[in-house]
């Protein structure tokens, strides 16, 4: 009933979907799996109307359609349950359920709250949720909110003719085990009302719930398996099967690190709900990679090391000194640098020049009694522009106008020139083109050579394997497995992924 035929999607520089065939039958639950960047989310966005396909066809009951907006997709019976919960917390449950569709309850501009509550109760019954429709949404648990999202999508049943397709994007990521069981039971019950597309990182859940599973890799569907004969191992292999190019990651430049010098030590560090019992050591010149799925706790660990998040218990020692105060200011002071994922938000100040950005974290070194030595600042900026071959017209150029790769270099120059010897890189190559990525790899090797300790959360597994000396695989906030990654004896993608999901 819902079908994609040879659907293509091209973004500037990226062929995100290549001739994808996808089909879902009435009452079916279809799983969709793939690594980060395999094209799952692009595919979903085309299905629920956030993107439009460039080639191929989208068919509903055999008729070609083109959704120009999610609203149009909804009118054709396609609804999305969002991973980041999309309910407005200060509104009541019923207002959220009928947000944007209040018209049916309005007489002469006045909302008939009784009728809306009644209709909302009907929707809540479908998802077996026994709460008052006038509850404020922020008072509910995550699991309850997830069900309300589902109830919201199920209102399509009354509104549209024909069959429903409901997308569930990682619905289990915030739920506890029993809640997941309940959700799955509910989804199975609801098959009489709708078909489901279920996207998850957790393969066991996907094989448990789905009838058929689509496996995606590099923008293509590489396999469709029936859940009955699905084998988790073989699916994993299909998800990651790729050749690694050793030169690309500058593996030949990887040199052993200095095991005698410990820069950073975490000893049984806990942060309730984010990670548990994390112990690790970072040595001078070491590249340590934290590997795990989104939400596994990698980012929270980085934030703790940098001082943005105080752990509940455990010891964090930097250069042998236990940290007692946790603040970004303290982190900078003891030589920790953080290169965050969103450069535009946290990496550079757009509107400030290259040299102003570079000295932002170390203005004390360039000021006497509060008065800046701008000549010295400029000289520093010129030096690093040359060192890292930053493409900027001059040190006075507005950082906001530089390309992503060059902004990244400015951020790295800021920290390195300030003498930081522990550098935390969170997805440093995200959104960069291939050439700029290689520049970042070269920089990582240079920093390692210079005795800087690097903790990396890589964009892809290959990148993690290629760049690192050591890998720690994290799942659900705990370190599952550690790998030594000497050139020539690096773990395979498959080794890592079996501990990740």
């Amino acid at each position: 009933m819902f079908e994609l035929q040879k659907v293509d999607k091209v973004f500037p520089g990226v062929h995100a979907l290549k001739a994808v065939d996808f089909e879902i039958k009435r009452g079916e639950i279809v799983g969709l799996v793939g690594e980060n960047g395999a094209g799952k989310s692009t595919l979903m966005k085309i299905i629920y109307g956030a993107y439009q396909h460039d080639g191929g066809q989208v068919l509903v009951d055999g008729k070609a359609v083109r959704f120009r907006s999610p609203r149009q997709a909804m009118d054709m019976g396609v609804g999305m349950v969002f991973q980041e919960q999309s309910l407005i917390p200060n509104l009541t449950v019923m207002e959220n359920i009928f947000l944007g569709f209040e018209k049916q309850f309005v007489n002469f501009g006045v909302i008939d709250w009784k009728a809306m509550a009644e209709a909302a109760r009907h929707q809540l019954n479908k998802v077996k949720l026994d709460i008052s429709p006038s509850t404020t949404t922020s008072q509910l648990s995550f699991a309850q909110r997830q069900l309300i999202e589902l109830a919201k999508v199920l209102t399509l049943e009354e509104r549209v003719q024909g069959d429903l397709v409901i997308l569930l994007d990682e619905p289990t990521s915030v739920l506890a085990k029993e809640e997941i069981e309940l959700l799955f039971e509910l989804v199975r019950d609801l098959r009489s009302r709708a078909s489901f597309i279920f996207v998850s990182h957790r393969l066991d859940e996907v094989t448990d719930l789905s009838d058929r599973i689509y496996v995606m890799k590099d923008g293509e569907v590489v396999d469709v398996v029936n859940a009955d004969d699905a084998n988790i191992d073989s699916i994993q292999r299909e998800m990651v099967g790729r050749n690694i190019n050793k030169e690309y990651y500058r593996e030949e430049q990887q040199s052993p690190f200095d095991t005698s010098k410990v820069l950073l030590e975490l000893d049984s560090v806990n942060l309730d709900s984010r990670y548990r019992d994390i112990s690790l050591k970072l040595h001078a010149g070491e590249v340590l990679c934290l590997v795990g799925t989104e939400g596994s706790g990698r980012e929270a660990i980085l934030r703790t090391i940098y001082g943005l998040q105080r752990p509940d218990c455990g010891r964090v020692a930097i250069n042998g000194h236990s940290m007692t105060r946790f603040s970004a200011r303290k982190g900078v002071e003891v030589g920790v640098a953080y290169v965050p994922r969103e450069r535009k938000i946290e990496g550079i100040v757009a509107g400030m020049s290259v040299f102003e950005n570079m000295t932002l974290s170390q203005m004390g070194n360039y000021a006497k009694a509060g008065v800046l030595d701008i000549g010295k600042e400029r000289a520093l900026a010129r030096e690093w522009i040359g060192k890292l071959s930053i493409k900027a017209s001059s040190e006075n150029a507005d950082c906001g106008n530089l390309s992503g790769g060059n902004q990244q270099k400015v951020v790295l120059a800021k920290w390195r020139s300030g003498g930081s010897d522990i550098i935390l890189l969170d997805h440093p190559t995200r959104g960069l083109d291939i050439g700029a990525k290689e520049d970042v790899y070269v920089m990582v090797r240079e920093m390692s050579e210079a005795g800087i300790g690097i903790i990396l959360v890589a964009d892809t597994l290959e990148e993690a394997i290629g760049l690192s000396h050591t890998i720690a695989v994290i799942k659900d906030g705990e370190i599952q497995k550690r790998y030594d990654c000497q050139p020539g004896s690096k773990p395979s993608l498959y080794d890592l992924i079996q501990y990740m999901i």
Binding site: V332, E346, I348, V349, G351, L360
Partner: protein, 321 residues
């Protein structure tokens, strides 16, 4: 040619072009407008407003807002006049202490303002608006609603003594402008204002103590408000609760019309100078060509809307609150 006509350049120079256009327009309408005497009158009228505007410029660059200036000016003016008179009432005695004392009072006022904003986590517009009322009330309490006359000829020489046709206070104001420029471009705190306004999260993640920067910003603003109060008293010879009257609207209008962005990070003291001149040229020019006062207010209001409209890159804003 077209590369000079970029949006950026246009935004940067538009206020100055507007100022020149206004001067040309009023000169054409009435030749008396373009005279040294009239310019001295404009700059003299603009002096207190320029001080207030310089103070608020730093706050707006940080992405905050300060609405306490009328109260701050009233308190500073009244404290200055009271102390000045009680210490002798002439500048060549111990009464000179009243001058630095006024600046200290201004900075304390700003300190409280900043602490209320930062420590109690009250939005700056609300914290400063309330503090402004506190200031008005305080000054009324001190004066009992009376006017305090400051008639010391040495102090009043700020107004009466002229060098090259311009009164002394204009030169002092110019000096204060240079100090503000120095703070903006040469000091750590000045750079921090831009960093906080351009990316507060990032400034925090780079180890800046954002709260401290904010409090210091309000203190510096307070000192400039005190300077404004001193010039205002020197100009009319009276200190009272109404000394700060209408300065809030004038100063924020000037900063915005000068091209400093309300969401922070962009602009500076030169923009503010141009903005203050634009506002005062309009006020003066309308009198010269004979339009009533209420028309001026209307024109200024429209000008603010235009300035904000032209200086906003609407593509980057999804919603405006």
């Amino acid at each position: 040619m077209s590369q000079f006509m970029t949006r950026e350049n246009l935004q940067k120079w538009a206020p100055l072009l507007v100022l020149i256009a206004l001067i040309l327009f009023f000169s054409a309408a009435n030749p008396n407008f373009l005279s040294v005497r009239n310019f001295a009158r404009i700059t003299m009228a603009a002096t207190p407003a320029l001080m207030i505007s310089l103070g608020i410029t730093f706050i707006i660059i940080m992405g905050s807002i300060d609405l306490s200036m009328e109260g701050a000016v009233a308190v500073c003016a009244v404290v200055f006049a009271t102390l000045f008179l009680s210490l002798g009432g002439v500048l060549n005695s111990w009464a000179w202490v009243a001058l630095p004392a006024a600046l200290v009072v201004g900075s304390i006022f700003g300190l409280i303002n900043g602490l209320v904003h930062v420590r109690l986590k009250i939005p700056s517009f609300m914290a400063s608006l309330s503090m402004g009322f506190v200031g008005i009330g305080l000054s009324l309490l001190m004066t009992g609603g009376d006017r305090i006359r400051v008639e010391d000829p040495i102090f009043r020489s700020l107004l009466t003594e002229r060098v090259l046709n311009f009164p002394l206070m204009v030169y002092f104001a110019g000096l204060a402008l240079l100090v503000a420029w120095f703070i903006q471009s040469r000091t750590r705190i000045g750079r921090n204002f831009y960093a906080v306004g351009g990316g507060e999260e990032l400034a925090h993640a780079s180890g800046l103590n954002v709260n401290r920067v904010r409090v210091i910003g309000f203190m510096i603003a307070g000192v400039f408000y005190a300077l404004g109060a001193l010039f205002a008293v020197a100009r009319i010879g009276i200190a009272e609760t109404a000394t700060g009257y209408n300065l809030m609207f004038i100063s924020i209008t000037s900063v915005v019309v000068g091209g400093t962005a309300l969401w922070g990070g962009i602009g500076g003291v030169w923009n503010t100078l141009v903005g203050v001149l634009i506002v005062n040229v309009i006020a003066n020019g309308m009198i010269v060509i004979g339009l009533p006062r209420y028309v001026q207010d209307g024109v200024l209001g429209v000008l603010v809307i235009l300035a904000v409209y032209l200086s906003t890159d609407r593509k980057s804003l999804a919603f405006v609150k």
